[in-house]
Symmetry: C2
Subunit: 335 residues, 2 copies
DNA sequence: CTCCAACGTTTATACGTATAAGCACTTGAT
DNA sequence: ATCAAGTGCTTATACGTATAAACGTTGGAG
């Protein structure tokens, strides 16, 4: 109705559009906007290009760039959001910031259904430059697939170091060991450790229990779901150890509440140690003794390592292990 | 040293490689692997292509595909991991699954430094097909930029409906209102609400307080950092309301612990209501009355909506509001 | 025997970018 | 004046994919 130019498809402006607007070639636009040090462009032209890009609202097309350069600059983190604890999340956010500063982009890629090699294929499709993933999800075949599809740095993350790739580790046995040693020093005769029945955390629970066993080989394994009924039953069953590592602070609270209801005193009858050192730990009565986690791996240093591997300046040995958190006991009143 | 074929660059196989291996053209490979219904390929050839792709470990190049088709199939979620609560995270994971089923890919894009239009540019570079982002981060200019760069469905998420785009909302005033109404019905004369001083959640705190004010216009605003010292001071200051909405369960525990230390009884002297209904709520003594959140927005339905908007089958009115969670009071002993 | 339609496949092209290579022109040294 | 060495740009190309269009065969109808 109005004009002829109206019906022009309004698609996002490309570097060609910017070039046309600035009266230069597309190559010049690319040189200027990427500050390519090998290119020689006069300051006057640079200004014209930048102005045109700004005016048109030019945004480079990440896919096109990735296709051309061969890598996407993406660091993939295929973890479900809900599973990781708050501490780990804050650490991961810090990692994301550090990666940003180094020119990478951390992508939490929240996909869970695909298993084994199919999952690896899915990750590889994005041509990430690096990937940080649960050690258990990595097989020899999937690592090979990733590497051959251009992923330079594959990291595992989990309780155990991976034999396949460098890995970031939190050894849960140490956690149990730390708690158990304190309980023994405190004078406890029989130890026990709660192992949660909830899927997802049961593995960590079992590892922490094994750590307790390293100190007290005859420690009791107390399998428990997070429910008041089960806790009551456990306490009513009698024959309870006089020192219990309760897996974490929430389970500790569950246990202590059941003990109180049964008329038992903490720590006199049963000493209890939690883990995570949540803000509520020092609010409980008795105040909860808990395993605190100090982040040890500096995200910035980790990014440096990653960057070196990506650039090929360093070949990471498969056995490289980065400790994520150092467990430390905070002694209060419950044990 | 050994052979001549050794030094061939081992780059990820492309559809051309698959074509060569199967003795067909690259186009045929594309037709087969994408099950393109407009193409006619004999079953025998299909089989050959699939076999070759499998054997070579072919993985399609997402960037190349995105460049060709014009969209990446990505749904961007630029949220820091640490900020959202566990409930929200589980919901978001469910959303991710639903999106997967519909052929999209949810990407938690954890970048925080960029502000305003610069952030929008950063998002747009990935050419996402849709984006779900804090309502406060969206300006008129950034929405325009996103849309003009090909993002079909822009959603806001937050406490308030966005005037610019359809939004997913959890109205925190309702939360405060719900708690306050219960306290009043219970017989409390003077109400108060804790507003956390921690950055990031202070806004939600203020909104919940406003909700309390809708029921009790003269309600006291109790600004509080999460520290036992501050809580003690607050209680020692005297002149405390006889009914307090404590923002959430953790703050409730902080407050109750301070009240106990000061010799005050809950709920007789001061009634306390929490929120989030954490597992520990029913373990506290007295058992904590808390606002529970029921997820109301079905992720599958939301994905359907998103898909329709993306396909252009439906134009979402800017005012469209999707309620995320319905608050509901769980009455126990603390109020 | 011819012509047409259906079938199965190939050829050609474009998406937006980065960069190697080339080209015209200027400058200073010889 | 001549050449070498810059300087400031442009031209050309490739990355890997999806798909429109073209193409050669085959079978059957006329």
């Amino acid at each position: 109705m109005t004009g002829v130019t109206e019906d022009i498809q309004r698609r996002p402006p490309t570097s060609v559009d910017v070039a046309r607007a600035a009266g230069v070639s597309q190559a010049t636009v690319s040189y200027v906007l990427n500050d390519n040090p090998n290119a020689r462009v006069s300051e006057k032209t640079r200004e014209r290009v930048r102005e045109a890009a700004e005016r048109l609202g030019y945004v480079p097309h990440a896919s096109a760039r990735a296709l051309r350069t061969g890598h996407s600059g993406l660091v993939l983190l295929p973890l479900p959001m809900a599973r990781t604890g708050r501490l780990a999340q804050e650490w991961l956010d810090a990692l994301g910031d550090a990666l940003n500063d180094a020119g990478y982009t951390l992508v939490y890629y929240g996909e869970r259904k695909l298993k084994g090699i199919a999952a690896a294929r899915d990750w590889a499709a994005l041509r990430p430059v690096s990937i940080i993933v649960d050690s258990e999800r990595l097989t020899k075949a999937s690592v090979e697939l990733l590497k051959s599809s251009g992923t330079r740095a594959v990291f595992g993350i989990g309780s155990e170091p991976s034999p396949l790739v460098p890995s970031m580790v939190l050894d849960h046995r140490q956690v149990g060991e730390l708690a158990a040693r304190h309980l023994v020093e405190r004078g406890c005769r029989r130890l026990g450790a709660i192992v949660p029945r909830e899927a997802g955390i049961d593995v960590m629970g079992a590892n922490r229990w094994r750590g307790v066993c390293r100190v007290a080989p005859d420690a009791a394994r107390l399998d428990l779901a997070f429910s008041e009924d089960e806790a009551r039953e456990l306490v009513a069953g009698g024959d309870l150890p006089d020192g219990v590592f309760a897996y974490n602070d929430e389970y500790a609270m569950l246990l202590i509440s059941a003990l109180h209801d049964a008329g038992l005193r903490v720590p006199d009858d049963v000493a209890v140690v939690g883990a995570d050192d949540l803000p509520i730990a020092s609010l409980m009565r008795p105040r909860l003794t808990s395993v605190h986690f100090d982040p040890t791996a500096n995200p910035v240093e980790l990014v440096t390592l990653l960057d070196e591997i990506v650039r090929g300046e360093r070949e990471a040995a498969d056995g490289t292990v980065v400790d994520l958190f150092a467990p430390r006991l905070v002694v209060r009143d419950s044990a």
